[in-house]
């Protein structure tokens, strides 16, 4: 991966799309990193929450292929701490939606079915997982 990002016109499309779907102003982010250290999942992420915000601002589309946006479980800890008042949970939701709206699911339903029978999963787990991982 090159460490040069060439910023062209089309890079702004990602920012515009995310801002449109989320209703949040991503450019407000001042990169303080409070979201990252508030995030219970940050250690599992390839893009930290602050990194996600920065990638969207720059139009770095790699963020769309990141694990991080799927690891986020919308716990809203970043949202209640962001000093700029950005609802980051909405930003990651927008990134997931960009993916899901292309008719690409993030979960294999067959596997889930098996698991459900084995583990006696509660309906609430299944419904929420399917809502978050399928279009």
């Amino acid at each position: 991966m090159s460490n040069v990002i060439h910023i062209e016109e089309e890079e702004n499309e990602l920012l515009a799309k995310v801002e449109e779907i989320s209703g949040e102003t991503v450019t407000l982010c001042e990169q303080c990193g409070i979201c990252t250290t508030s995030c219970p999942m940050a250690e599992e992420m390839d893009f930290t929450p602050a990194g996600i915000m920065h990638a969207v601002k720059l139009g770095d589309k790699n963020v769309l292929d990141s694990k991080a946006i799927w690891i986020c479980a919308s716990c809203f800890t970043c949202t209640v701490r962001c000093p700029r008042g950005i609802d980051l949970a909405k930003v990651t939701e927008a990134l997931r939606q960009i993916h899901l709206r292309k008719n690409k699911d993030h979960v294999n339903l067959e596997e889930v079915k098996e698991e459900e029978q084995e583990e006696n999963l509660p309906p609430i787990a299944l419904v929420s997982a399917l809502r978050k991982f399928t279009g």
């Binding site: 001042e30 303080c32 602050a50 701490r81 700029r84």
Partner: protein, 788 residues
């Protein structure tokens, strides 16, 4: 019959390259009462002014119109010329044909010339109605009330007192000194704070012109500049400050211990105590809430121990009344309550403290008093309570970056084996010597890491504090245990600031601090004449800025008081007593409480700001402004709409002087075009434009009316936008009734840099106004009453 001279300026081509100045001059010569017309290359030059002065003498002119640039630019030049010629300075009017015609319409010279003619006619018609305004002055004495005894209040008091003015310095605590007295050293010079402050405090105590009133609260302030009535209550000290030698024997026998507020509760003091080692007055005081009992006396040990016989259990509150001419508000700040960020554990974790507590620890340990260990691994967390929407404080507290740099440096220098981290978001080292000081801290080995921790955890065994933070420059999460975490807490307005703001009706900005009259040009004035602000009551700032502001406030107060009288701005509301029936509607309409009812409304000229908000509230047209009078503005409206051709559309734009007029000048200077059929009428505030005026404009041929006003944050007048909104609503209802689209009236707040917004709104209105209004509908307006 008046005698008017009209002078058309070429502005060295700035105007004459676009506008046909000779045609304008020809046109002006046919206007009523015009006796002489000249077109001159540079009106503002000495020869231009001389032409005016000579003509005034030769042609016995009593009024002058200069068709040139903006009155905000050269207005005072021509006022001075009139004074030289022996005329009242208000008898000159400028037609702004440069910023409002030649420049914005440079690409359509024919229209620019036509507009210049109309602007000149408007000025002539206005000046015909202008009445000379006599200079009004009020007597003023030399007594200043300084509220707050921190460094701001101390500096202002000393400056005033040294210049021979009488100062009453009121402080609610038992000693002056404020927060500065608590600090270790000052950045970036690292002077010992109390060492440089103590001599100033002593000067205050000794100064013959300063009446120091400590332990004193303000009960009430009424009146206005030159005539403030102040009521004070001085709490009983129970110790005669003149007799007390501060020997401390009383403390030794006092049985009551309570937290010492000077050390932020980290140490204890007795119920009888010396407020601080450098306290002024340098005397003990009995804390009556902590004392076992004074009335009835339950202990009495301190009196027995006092050799100086200074203790007086019979002390009572003193009520003091003062007559004051000017006031300086220096009520300071409080630190942000770190408990409002529970995720940082302040108050729960024993090793999380505030920066102010660290200041005290450093001072006390330098004096050999051990309060608590500081440790080896120390972290500073920046922006606690500042720049944080979650606690409602969007502002930067300005001093935390540097005080943290200072404290980190002091700790590191005292023990180089310490590992000191500063976790910041943006490091702001903007002041003189600050960047160099930041560099020195880095040389010392202080580690500045860019990241803001989300929460802190306490190690249950060691009680060390675990900081987890993203190093946003490497995107790695850092975790480290610290012996001590210091919260760099921000500044918030003090309770005293809030109380005085309410008492004096001083406006505050959205950050909660006191609002200055103008953020650039009147930074220590308040919108209320004779009241000034200094120090952190106005907003977070460091000591040099506070001192500079305090001296500035003192100088502003002196400038008002020095001459023994002060001139009132001629822009004031007046009441026509024959029309006033004393209904009192105007009293609520006045945002500064300048109107009183004594049978009829009467206006306190010292308080009135001349915004004109009261005018539209009067059901009997009994209120007017002395300058920018109803008659003058109506003359401008009429003349702006005169000779309107068929198929022509005209828009009247009322522009408040402070923001919209300046903005329109800026738009013109930037050569940004806007519809050339928009004619700007300058008003002190668009709130003085009554619904009747707006409707009259439509009746006379206006196709659209726009009202521009300062945004609340920069406006010199409080709450005018509300009045404008109401007036516009009323006028719109009347338009609707006459069958005219109510959207033909628009209004908007502005600041002076909103160029595109101004242009777009005028263009939009021009589109709305493009449809013809049938004459019969306009005539309907004539008979319509404005609906109240």
């Amino acid at each position: 019959m008046t005698r008017i001279g009209v002078y058309v300026c070429h502005c060295g081509g700035n105007i004459s390259d676009v506008v046909d100045v000779e045609e304008v001059a020809q046109f002006a010569s046919r206007l009523p009462d015009v006796v002489v017309v000249r077109s001159i290359s540079h009106m503002c030059s000495e020869s231009g002014q001389k032409a005016i002065i000579d003509d005034i003498r030769e042609y016995k002119l009593d009024r002058v119109v200069v068709a040139a640039c903006s009155p905000q630019f050269q207005g005072s030049t021509f006022e001075k010329a009139l004074i030289k010629a022996g005329l009242n300075p208000k008898m000159v009017e400028m037609a702004n044909i440069r910023e409002q015609s030649a420049w914005p319409h440079y690409d359509i010279p024919d229209k620019a010339t036509e507009k210049a003619k109309v602007l000149t006619a408007m000025a002539v018609e206005k000046i015909r109605k202008t009445k000379p305004v006599e200079r009004e002055a009020m007597k003023i004495g030399k007594n200043t009330l300084v509220i707050g005894g921190g460094i701001a209040g101390i500096q202002a008091s000393l400056d005033l007192a040294n210049a021979g003015f009488n100062v009453y310095l009121v402080e609610e605590k038992p000693s002056i000194g404020g927060h500065m007295a608590q600090l270790s050293r000052t950045f970036p010079t690292e002077d010992c704070a109390s060492c440089i402050l103590a001599p100033k405090m002593a000067d205050v105590a000794d100064h013959p012109n300063i009446h120091l009133l400590t332990y004193t609260e303000i009960l009430e302030i009424t009146g206005s500049i030159g005539n403030f009535k102040v009521k004070l209550r001085q709490k009983p000290r129970y110790v005669d400050a003149d007799k007390c030698t501060a020997c401390g024997e009383c403390e030794k026998v006092c049985p009551v211990s309570v937290p010492d507020e000077f050390n932020l509760g980290m140490t204890a003091r007795k119920a009888i105590y010396l407020p601080s080692p450098t306290a002024v007055p340098h005397a003990h005081v009995i804390d009556e809430d902590a004392c076992l009992g004074i009335v009835p006396l339950r202990c009495g040990e301190c009196a027995k121990a006092c050799e100086a016989n200074a203790i007086n259990y019979d002390d009572t509150p003193k009520y003091i009344n003062l007559d004051i001419d000017t006031i300086i508000v220096a009520t300071g700040f409080e630190i942000f309550d770190a408990r409002k960020k529970p995720q940082y554990g302040y108050g729960r974790f024993q090793n999380v403290i505030t920066a102010l507590e660290l200041e005290r620890l450093i001072v006390e340990s330098a004096e050999g008093h051990f309060i608590r260990p500081i440790g080896k691994d120390i972290a500073f967390i920046q922006c606690v309570g500042s720049r944080d929407k979650q606690v409602g404080n969007l502002y930067c507290s300005r001093i935390c970056c540097m005080y943290a740099t200072k404290l980190a440096s002091l700790l590191k220098r005292a023990d180089p084996s310490r590992d000191v981290y500063v976790f910041y978001t943006d490091l702001r080292a903007y002041g003189k010597g600050f960047e160099e000081y930041y560099r020195r801290a880095q040389e010392l080995g202080v580690k500045f890491i860019r990241g803001r921790p989300g929460e802190l955890q306490e190690d249950p065994e060691t009680k060390k504090v675990i900081v987890r933070v993203e190093d946003t420059l490497t995107r790695k999460i850092i975790e480290k245990k610290f012996d001590l975490v210091v919260l760099s807490v921000g500044l918030v307005p003090s309770k005293g600031t809030l109380k005085i703001a309410e008492m004096l009706k001083l406006p505050r900005t959205s950050d909660g601090f006191l609002k200055e009259a103008h953020p650039k040009f009147r930074p220590v004035d308040t919108p209320i004449e004779g009241i000034f602000i200094a120090g952190t009551a106005q907003g977070p700032k460091d000591i040099p800025d506070t001192v500079a502001q305090a001296s500035a406030a003192a100088a502003r107060a002196m400038a008002l008081m020095n001459k023994g009288e002060f001139e009132l701005s001629p822009i004031k509301a007046i009441v026509y007593e024959d029309k006033c029936d004393g209904c009192g509607e105007c009293i609520d309409a006045c945002p500064v409480d300048a109107i009183k009812l004594n049978g009829k409304a009467s206006i306190n000229a010292a308080i009135c700001k001349g915004c004109g908000s009261c005018i539209s509230s009067c059901p009997r047209d009994a209120i007017d402004l002395k300058i920018f009078s109803d008659e003058e503005i109506m003359a401008e409206i009429e003349s702006a709409l005169k000779d309107k051709k068929e198929n022509e559309r005209r828009i009247i734009v009322f522009a408040d002087d402070m923001c919209t007029y300046t903005l329109a000048d800026g738009v013109g200077t930037a050569k940004m075009g806007y519809p050339a059929n928009a004619f700007i009428i300058r008003v002190p505030s668009s709130s003085r434009v009554t619904p009747k005026m707006i409707l009259k404009a439509f009746e006379l041929g206006a196709d659209g009316v726009f009202l521009g006003e300062c945004e609340e944050a920069v406006s010199p007048f409080p709450s005018t936008l509300k009045v404008i909104k109401e007036n516009v609503e009323k006028a719109r209802i009347a338009l609707k009734e006459a069958g005219i689209e109510p959207e033909r009236i628009q209004y908007s707040p502005f600041v002076t840099v909103m160029f595109p917004k101004f242009v777009n709104l005028i263009k939009k209105l021009n589109e709305i106004a493009s449809k013809e209004i049938p004459e019969e509908k306009r005539r309907k307006l004539h008979v319509l009453e404005v609906i109240e």
